[in-house]
Structure formats: C-alpha cells, structure tokens
C-alpha cells in the first residue's frame, strides 16, 4: 500500500534538532530506500512562499500565502510503499524527524500516478525545473468529489496534458482525514493518535507534484486543474538545497 507521510511543523526547527536530523537522516533514507519501503521524500519551502489558487466562473483568483491559517503546517513529505499500516508506523517512527515533528500517515485513495519527472525529483535533481506541490484543500469529508467520474476523467486529462512535457512528477487522491493516523515519538516511545496531524477544519484531499520553470507556470497548472473550480489549490515550491 502507498502512504503519504506529512511532516508537520510549527516553524523552523531549533539548531540542535536540525543538527540531529541532518546527522541521522541519511542512514534512515538508506535503510528505508534499501528495503523498498520509502520511495522518496522532499522538504517544502515555508508557507510564506505559497500561493492559493481558485477558479470561479472562469476567472483565476490567486492569493498570496498558504490556504490554512494554522500554527502547524506541512513542512515536507515522504512517499512510502508498505505492506500495511504497522509497517508504515515502524518506518515513520524510525525517522529522526519523528523525534521533533508529528508525522501524519495517510493512505492513498486509489492509484498513485507517477510521472516522467518522478525519478529526477527523487534524486533531488531540479535542473529541469523547480518542483511544486499542488495541495488540494477541501472542507468536508468524505471528499465525494474525488470519486466523481466526471472529475476523475478531467483529472486524468489534466495529467495526460502535463505528462509529455515531463512536468508531471506524481499525483493521487488521498484517503479521507478519518483514515489518517498521526505519530509522535516521545522519549523513545511511539504515540499514535487517530486523525490528521494538522488541526484545521479543512484537509488536504489530493496532491499533485509538478516540475516547472517558475511560480507563474505552477499557478497556471493549478488553475487548469478541475479541482480549482470547486475548491482551493495551495501551490508551494519544494526546498531546493
């Protein structure tokens, strides 16, 4: 099963946490990559770098800043491929990041689509373009819209459209927030709780990752996505070291 791991944060980590994570992350990435349970993961720029895109009556509305005004935000994500939730929990709990940040484990709703840009993205190779996260925020579970056949067809068409140019990295609809599990590690002990890691009325119902030359193009891609007509899409660049 494919799971998305949201790293939840409420600001820049303190220097010592940063040092520990930088020291221990490579070993975790090697171990989990070697086992085939972690496909890849990247850090995001801070929410200030985000733009929120809506399309209403044919008009694209762009606001600066993130969609949700919460103290906590998604600081990065990892893509896991695990036998079951227990394995995903084990993988997340072993990450040095979980010592400092809550991690939300969310299953995908259906198929995860990997685009041509996926392998470059996984290698942190941003030479062809900057990777952007398009996070589709919705306010009410279940996200029935995601199961709507017409919307599915349009989403597929959107992916086909961005596919040949190597823009599309990955994308997929996520399980409802009620399928989420949030993990914290305190004094070496794994503590689980039911539900999302970010306490907001809205939730991220689906994601797409695109790689493109700049923010303007990323916003255009978001505006072309069918979900933008119904909900809001937060566009945020990944961190390029």
């Amino acid at each position: 099963m494919k799971y998305l791991l949201f790293i939840c944060s409420d600001g820049l980590p303190v220097p010592e946490a940063m040092a520990v994570m930088q020291r221990d992350l490579p070993a975790w990435i090697d171990e989990m990559g070697g086992r085939g349970v972690r496909l890849f993961g990247r850090e995001l720029e801070l929410p200030e770098a985000a733009a929120t895109v809506r399309v209403r009556e044919g008009e694209t509305l762009v606001t600066d800043g993130p969609f949700a005004e919460t103290k906590e935000f998604v600081a990065g994500l990892d893509l896991l491929d695990c036998a079951d939730l227990d394995e995903a929990i084990e993988v997340a709990a072993k990450s040095p990041v979980s010592r400092y940040h809550p991690m939300e484990i969310r299953p995908f709703r259906g198929e995860l689509q990997l685009g041509e840009g996926a392998s470059r993205f996984a290698r942190d190779d941003d030479s062809a373009g900057t990777p952007y996260l398009l996070a589709m925020w919705m306010s009410q579970a279940p996200a029935a819209l995601l199961d709507d056949e017409a919307v599915k067809r349009e989403s597929d068409a959107w992916r086909r459209h961005v596919q040949p140019s190597g823009i599309h990295v990955l994308g997929g609809a996520l399980g409802d927030p009620e399928t989420a599990t949030t993990l914290r590690v305190r004094d070496g002990e794994t503590v689980l709780s039911d539900g999302p890691g970010i306490d907001a009325a809205e939730f991220i119902a689906a994601i797409e990752v695109v790689s493109c030359p700049g923010r303007r193009q990323a916003i255009e891609l978001a505006a072309a996505h069918p979900i933008a007509r119904h909900h809001a899409i937060e566009v945020r660049p990944f961190y390029s070291g």
Partner: protein, 423 residues
C-alpha cells in the same frame, strides 16, 4: 432437553461462539460487515432449529459452517463475488453440500480458529483507531451484543454508536490496519493496548453510576470473559493474567459495594461476607501464578493492591503499608495523578496522615485533578481522620461541586451530614 434448558444452551453457545464465528469469517472474506451479517443469520437459523433438533455437539463448527455458507451465497450473488471468492480461497469456503452436523470444520483446525479470535482482538484494539471506536468494535465483534445494547451501555444514541462502528471498520480497510496478531517486538505494547480496552470496558460497567444496570453488569462479564480468553490465548504472558485477576477481585465486591437504594458503600464499610469468595480465590490464584513469572506490570500491581483488600478479614486488618509500597511501584510504571492520589490515601491509612495530605496538596498545587471530585473528597476524608472537622466540611463542599453523578453526590452529602452532626 426442556425448552428453558435449550434456551440456556443456546445462550451459552452464542456467548461463547459469536467472536469465533465473526473472527473466522473476517479472515476468510476480509469483509467485516459481511462477517457480522452472516454470523447474525447463522445465529437466527440456530434459534429456529436447535430447539427442535437439539444443540449440535460442536455448536461452534455448526454456526461457522452455516455462516460460511451464507457468505458464499452472498458473494456469489454480489458483483464482486467471483473476485472475492478467489481471494477468500475457494477450496476452503465452497463446500455447500456438506452435512452441517457431521462435516469437518472447514474453516480450519480449532487452533486456527483460536488464532482468528486473537487476530480479531488485536485488530479491534489497534492504537491507530479512535479509543471509543476500539471499545465499540471489540464489543460488537467479540461479544454477542447488538449495536443498540452497546449504545445503551455507553449512554449514546444508537445512530452515534453505529457511526463509531462504521468509522472504525472503514479505517481498518482504508488505512491498511493488518488483521493479525502483532509480531513479537510489538506484542508487549499492543497487549497493553488490548488490556486497556478490556479494562476500560470493565470499568464502564463497574462504575454503575448511570445507564441500564443489567447491560452495565453485562459489560463487566464480557470484559472478564474476553480477558479470560486473552489469557487462554497467551498463557505465558503475565499481564493478561494480572488483568483477569484484577477484574475478578473487583468483581467479587460487586454485590457489597452498592446499597439497597443504589448508594455507594466504601470499601471500609462494605459487608465483607457478601464478597464473592469464588472470584476472590480464582483472582488470588491467578495473581500468584502471574507474579511467579517475575515480569511485573501495571495490571499485576493493581491486582496485587486489590488482593491486599481481598485478603483482609476486615477493614482494620488491611495492610496499608504494603499497599502504599505497591502504589510506589505502580506510579513508577504508570505515572498519573490518580495513581498518586491513591498512594496518598494508602500512606495516610498506613498511619502517616500528614504525608498523605502533603501529597494531596502537592497535586492540587500542580493543578492536577482539579475537576475530579475525588481530590477534594480525599482531602476531606484525611482531614476527618485527623479530626479537623472545619477543613473537612469545606473540602466536602468543594467535592460536591465537582461530583458528576448522583450516587457520588449522595455519598458526599451523607459524609457532610455526618460531619455536621458531630459538631
């Protein structure tokens, strides 16, 4: 068999077999709702046939077979039937013509069925499920209780309880919670999680402060029965044994702790001749067996504390020094303000009222348990024992404000009246 005898046999078989039938069907079909529905139908069929035909020699095998056949019928009719049947293992499921009475257990050997029940307990109590969903799902899947009965026991509407159950089952499927007994490295932690659910269930019934009395008593029985099942399934683990001992020792006082008018009677004032000696004996035996394994845990410690009370001929004989010591060990493993409050009582009862009060004051200063009436009630009781009537009355008044249930308030009012009368 006479009709009442048949009814009794049917009830006993149902109570014993429900969890087994559901557990096996879930493994075979992967579909929780289908498993429950088909088990329900098999039980209805038994109710029709057993009174006339007699209870089969192996009621569990009979029920599982009938339920399994129903599952096959439904899967055949369903759109995804063929696919699901494939997944379920066609050869194991599809033998519809076999005589239900004499047929072999087509769902596997009895060991496997016991494993199914263990799988089911661990899955229902998975820590990624919401806590109230764990309790509800455990009761629905493993105990022969309807959604309406579970709703009544927890004082929520049937619709709310149905929603909890649906949510929990949906999460198991969508989030990929495995249907299995956890591997060795997870077992201690997950077993503690299962015991927490069973003990919560027990306490919900034991509190008996509101709700349908009969169903609440049923909760205690079901929790005890499931703890017993868990012990049988994991005979080498001392904590399930300790939890069962704890439940039996508490359960033994059930008749003595509530008065004629539903009022609570303290341990000190209970008529100990009304304690159930059979339950006490079994509880003490289990506790000894558990402690011999030398892997002490919080349930064994709580059972050991309950055992100190059970062994005392009368309240004055209670070994409070021993109890205070056990609370130190318990607090070490399970630090909580409630455990500390209990330690304060034990220390005071062992003779050191000042130290006991100091611990209570410290808890109050930390702001712990402020909306918990027992903090003030304990303080009031310790003042009373010290002979400090004014302070005791003031504390009882504060406790009265924090108390939430009528029997609790009634108890405090009685204490207040006693204190005022001595003036």
């Amino acid at each position: 068999m006479s009709p009442p005898a048949v009814q009794e046999a049917v009830d006993a078989a149902f109570r014993e077999e429900w969890g087994r039938v559901v557990a096996t069907l879930i493994r075979r079909t992967g579909d929780w709702d289908l498993a429950e529905d088909c088990a329900q139908e098999a039980f209805a069929e038994a109710l029709r046939r057993w009174p006339a035909d007699g209870v089969p020699q192996r009621p569990g095998a009979w029920l599982t077979t009938v339920a399994g056949n129903r599952a096959i019928d439904r899967l055949r009719r369903g759109a995804r039937g063929a696919e699901l049947l494939e997944q379920a293992g066609r050869e194991a499921l599809a033998r519809p013509d076999t005589d239900e009475e004499t047929m072999p257990e087509l769902f596997g050997e009895s060991d496997e069925i016991e494993d199914d029940r263990l799988r089911l307990i661990f899955t229902c109590c998975h820590p990624a499920l919401p806590p109230e969903g764990r309790v509800a799902l455990t009761l629905r899947s493993l105990a022969w209780l309807t959604t309406a009965e579970i709703a009544r026991a927890f004082l929520v509407s049937e619709a709310t309880m149905a929603k909890r159950l649906t949510r929990a089952k949906a999460k198991i499927a969508a989030a990929g919670i495995p249907y299995r007994v956890p591997p060795a490295h997870l077992l201690p932690e997950r077993t503690a999680g299962v015991l927490a659910v069973l003990y919560l269930m027990f306490n919900e019934g034991y509190a008996a402060s509101a709700g349908d009395e009969l169903i609440r008593a049923g909760l205690c029985d079901e929790a005890t029965r499931l703890a017993r099942a868990l012990w049988h399934l994991m005979p080498d683990e001392p904590e399930p044994m300790g939890a069962l001992a704890l439940m039996l020792l508490h359960s033994s006082r059930r008749r003595a702790r509530v008065g004629e008018h539903g009022e609570l009677i303290t341990l000190e004032e209970q008529d100990r001749s009304r304690w159930d000696q059979t339950e006490i004996d079994e509880g003490l035996r289990l506790l000894d067996a558990a402690l011999r394994r030398r892997r002490v845990g919080p349930y064994q410690l709580q059972a050991a504390i309950a055992a100190c009370h059970a062994r005392a001929e009368n309240a004055a004989d209670t070994d409070w020094g021993e109890i205070a010591g056990l609370y130190v060990l318990l607090e070490d493993r399970m630090p909580s303000p409630v455990v500390r409050l209990n330690r304060a009582v034990a220390v005071a009862m062992a003779g050191d009222i000042e130290t006991g009060l100091a611990i209570v004051d410290e808890l109050a200063e930390q702001g712990a348990l402020t909306d918990y009436h027992l903090l003030e009630a304990t303080r009031a009781d310790l003042y009373r024992r010290r002979g400090d009537r004014e302070a005791s009355i003031a504390a009882y008044h504060r406790a009265l404000e924090a108390a939430r249930t009528e029997p609790e308030r009634e108890f405090i009012r009685r204490r207040l009246a006693e204190q005022s009368a001595q003036r």
